[in-house]
Symmetry: C2
Subunit: 298 residues, 2 copies
């Protein structure tokens, strides 16, 4: 694998789990820095009920102000048709839907069964088609559920295939609680890639147990070439007890650079975005590379 | 790789970099818990000048009191003949010597050139032979030096071979400052394994930049089967600015267990040792698994 695409989810998956709610201006400053770093895919907001996710309450106002840059795609998370209508009226050109590989997690996270969430996704996809809006699919808890424990890889594969069949251009196979080891990556990717092509698969690792980079390394051997990460390692999931943030974009970039894998992203500039974010949220973010002495991995 | 040997370096590499100096009784409690966890190779102390490493000043008294357990080997770090004489008189059955792959680091760390350190090692080996004491060799800064930057892999290979030729039974190829990525593991192991057999190589990763587990994963592909780690991720190096602790034994065990690799070590019991250590040193240790919700990796 000589080139990898990074989907920066800090402004959404990251910020929605920070206690501090950022102003629109600070969100824009953060996102502008991410785009300057060369990140071409940025999940910028979610259009969800502000009662549940107050951090994202200003998505409607934020979206039209996102910095326009050649080749940068902003995605918006939408849980249902109502969120999709909001995202469309805000001008979103790409959205992300989500379901889970664990029934219990689906109910706790969105108060829907997996079957019901697929019905909601079908509505979103129908709305997207008329507007030529691309739809990404997240599949949560693919490597373990905080309520059900281990999740069957065959079930993950089946649901991934269904998301693509429904019209998603890519499915982000997600380790919501950071439970996966490279052994689980083997198990899940063996099943998933038997049903869907690698170029339609992204991986989304939380770093709860420090396994994320090892898991990425293993996934590279399967020719998966799209990875989600968050600047500074911000993030987590309020409905997944103990889940830590996404793998840090800086740490991922450091590893990939050291392996000669191209990303087109500047580690130094992502670190600038993270330091800005730290100054705003008022806490040290978990990225290790961000807080280590400068070192050129190549 | 179906079986991996862990060399627990927490009582030495870990404790020598903790600000809090443990009492002999607490050291023994820590080590007893590590042995109970199934760790068979434990680096228990170093016989160095207490002026430089006050944390190890009681090695002479500690050593005879180490818990005797079937199959458990305790190693002691010795920098020179004087340290070796102290270690022998304390009853050490295995020692570890060290040199560096970087000239500047060697001078800053032990105030000797690499050539001078090999002379010191030869004296240690000579003393060991008469007593049938096994000698392990550490080679520091194999993946980068805080003063010189990148280190030539051919030089690492040459020095690793010299350590073995001198009488070391194993060489621990060390990433003292946690600079390595899997790309560097390829680079260094390609060179080292062209000169020495894999079964005589151990790897020693510090986790400064969060790369250690990915590096272990890559090294497993080369059939390297001995890895150094420290319970809780304690440790570091006072002479390597910014260097963080060793990779945490718990995190390593979690990954290996998830891959079906046997170690014979109980993660839960290592975590008990780490929690005891945390209670004594009064700080949270960096292991991620230690501080995550319980999860069975298999």
């Amino acid at each position: 694998m000589r080139r990898v695409q990074i989907v920066e989810v800090g402004p959404r998956d990251g910020l929605q789990n920070e206690a501090k709610v950022l102003s629109i201006e600070d969100k824009l400053r953060f996102i502008e820095r991410l785009a300057q770093a060369g990140l071409k895919r940025i999940e910028a907001a979610s259009f969800v009920n502000p009662k549940w996710v107050p951090q994202m309450a200003d998505a409607q106002k934020l979206y039209p102000r996102l910095p326009k840059r050649e080749g940068v795609r902003y995605s918006a998370l939408v849980p249902n048709a109502r969120g999709m209508e909001d995202a469309l009226s805000a001008g979103a050109g790409e959205v992300a839907v989500f379901t889970a590989a664990s029934e219990t997690f689906s109910r706790k996270n969105v108060n829907m069964s997996i079957q019901e969430s697929f019905a909601a996704i079908a509505q979103v996809v129908a709305l997207a088609k008329g507007k030529h809006v691309a739809v990404r699919g997240y599949l949560s808890t693919c490597f373990g559920c905080p309520y059900e424990g281990r999740v069957d890889a065959g079930r993950v594969a089946e649901l991934a295939q269904r998301l693509l069949a429904l019209g998603c251009f890519e499915v982000s196979v997600s380790d919501t609680i950071g439970a996966a080891t490279p052994g689980d990556v083997d198990r899940v990717l063996d099943a998933v890639l038997a049903r869907v092509p690698a170029e339609k698969v992204a991986l989304h690792f939380h770093d709860t147990r420090g396994m994320a980079l090892a898991n990425v390394l293993r996934a590279l051997e399967y020719d998966v070439a799209v990875f989600d990460s968050a600047a500074g390692g911000a993030g987590g999931c309020p409905f997944a007890p103990g889940a830590a943030g996404n793998v840090a974009t800086e740490d991922l970039l450091f590893m990939l650079a050291g392996m000669g894998v191209e990303t087109g992203v500047s580690l130094d500039k992502v670190a600038e975005a993270s330091r800005f974010l730290e100054s705003v949220v008022g806490r040290q973010l978990p990225s290790r590379v961000l807080h280590s002495p400068a070192w050129s991995p190549r």
